[in-house]
Symmetry: C2
Subunit: 326 residues, 2 copies
């Protein structure tokens, strides 16, 4: 007899080695492995209830009925869960983020990680972390990385069975901070899902993929050894390479704003002056400045003074997704 | 008996297909062929006089003694000419640009093109356009393109004999304008010569080179057929690819300023709205906006209003380098 209701929480994550482009669009098998850090303090909480009385799925997002597009994506995900559990019932899903959509952090990773935990348990499935990560991946690739704890590597794999994320170090391994620099609150013109499809149109994607595993191994080693200088170089290079692919794809995707570049250049200059900080940018204009805890307050203060910076949000290393008591 | 004095004039040029990285550093044999447009109205004029009384070369730049570095580069170039002419005499060189160094245009191309014409004639050499272009290349790679007329292709070649530029269309073939958008007058931190040496350290240089010939052929065809839409796409892609190589080289070279990116994005938006304009950036922060003559005044007016734009200079298609009467 399935438990009909369950709730879960997950953090978003910031990728140090980026995911851009799929080998299999439908299953979201990525073109390369990626590596990220979960973001403490930022949370999506999701409640799922399967109910035989429902004629269709219902999706309430931040206390309002979700858009048609968002609801469709949730239903497609629930179909995967129903298929696994052999369950015909429709579900009611209520999800809430404690961070605004203009906070500089995409919510799809935490959303589908929390949904994977809540929906699978509500459907009566008993899944381990690997299986939950694989399931979350079906909703949003980066969601696979929000399932395990702390610093997380998503093994690209080649099929649904071997494409999952696992922790490379727990949240308390290294006290890093992510200073999230918001330079724009505008909704991105081209979402990541569409963007992934354009990756192969760039003359640089092949070279980006070819070197991704080496960059990931350097990054993983830098994390394990708490080697900030190595981390900084590889994080900035990998981010720059993704944006080069984006800007040279057809059509070209320019996610950077002028203020984005200003922050990137400032962080490089500060690092040249001895400050431990590096910058990375996802598929949007906002900048994530990574630094050791000890330097965070100085860096946040300096970031706040840069032209075009609306605000800076601070986050530390977060744990994995978890179920919540009802 | 050599003519002991000669003078010449050359225009700078803006590359549509960029030169970045050398196959042979000493001879300046480039990693890929490139294509440019000479810039009318901007001129370097140079007078060379070989004189047996001189104990060493003298170089007056813009009516002042040149820096030690600039003088050394001129002497190295004159050594090539002396070697060709079997001439032992030192020379006095006076060169003048009618555009300031903060105008958004590098002067090395026009400088070495004018110097190649003046010095070779003063040394008694009789060189055709190909040979002059090859000689100019020894001073600065892009100077090879300032020797022929109008729209110019520099064949990369493999050695000193086959690496030269020639005109693909005369200056009056297509009434394009270059609206030179100055966003910074600061001297660039890393000059092009040093930058070329870093090109191979980028994981993207190989892909940039691999596609360069195809881009060049598309660009050449667009010029021959006066096909602005094709020109715009390939010019922007090629510029973006060079800057991706720069930003991903080790150490990374960030020539763009925030205002550079603002101009690039504005031009893309205007083009999406039907305006014929495209943008390209050399190894510096300023933006060259290329457009048909008919749209230039509207574009200059709009450019002037963008944040961070100091001024906009307009140039049309220039002829080749030529000797001046003394």
């Amino acid at each position: 007899m399935p438990k009909q209701s369950a709730a879960a929480m997950a953090h978003p994550n910031i990728a140090f080695i980026k995911y851009w482009g799929n080998r299999d669009r439908e299953l979201r098998i990525p073109a390369n492995s990626s590596l990220s850090m979960n973001l403490e303090g930022l949370e999506t909480k999701t409640l799922v209830r399967f109910d035989s009385e429902l004629a269709q799925d219902e999706f309430i997002l931040n206390e309002e009925p979700a858009s048609h597009e968002a609801a469709g994506r949730v239903t497609a995900f629930l179909d995967v869960v129903r298929g696994m559990a052999n369950l015909p019932e429709r579900a009611s899903v209520a999800s809430k983020n404690n961070f605004p959509s203009g906070a500089g952090v995409a919510s799809s990773a935490s959303a589908f990680a929390a949904l994977a935990l809540a929906a699978s348990r509500a459907a009566g499935l008993v899944l381990d972390t690997n299986a939950l990560s694989r399931l979350a991946r079906r909703g949003s690739g980066s969601a696979s990385r929000s399932v395990p704890d702390g610093f997380v590597e998503w093994h690209a794999g080649e099929n649904d069975a071997d494409s999952y994320a696992e922790s490379v170090a727990p949240a308390d391994h290294w006290a890093l901070r992510d200073c999230i620099v918001v330079v724009s609150e505008a909704h991105k013109a081209i979402g990541s899902s569409e963007g992934h499809d354009l990756a192969d149109s760039s003359p640089f994607q092949e070279a980006r993929i070819a070197g991704a595993q080496e960059r990931l191994e350097n990054c993983r080693r830098a994390i394990v050894e708490r080697d900030f200088a190595t981390l900084a170089d590889v994080v900035e290079l990998d981010s720059l390479m993704m944006h080069s692919v984006m800007m040279s794809s057809m059509p070209a995707l320019f996610y950077w704003e002028p203020a984005t570049l200003g922050v990137l250049k400032a962080v490089r200059a500060w690092r040249a002056d001895g400050l431990e900080a590096c910058a990375t940018v996802d598929a949007g204009p906002n900048v994530h400045v990574i630094c050791p805890e000890a330097q965070a307050s100085e860096i946040v203060e300096q970031l706040t003074r840069l032209p075009g910076v609306l605000r800076v949000l601070e986050s530390s290393v977060g744990g994995g997704a978890k179920w919540l008591e009802l």
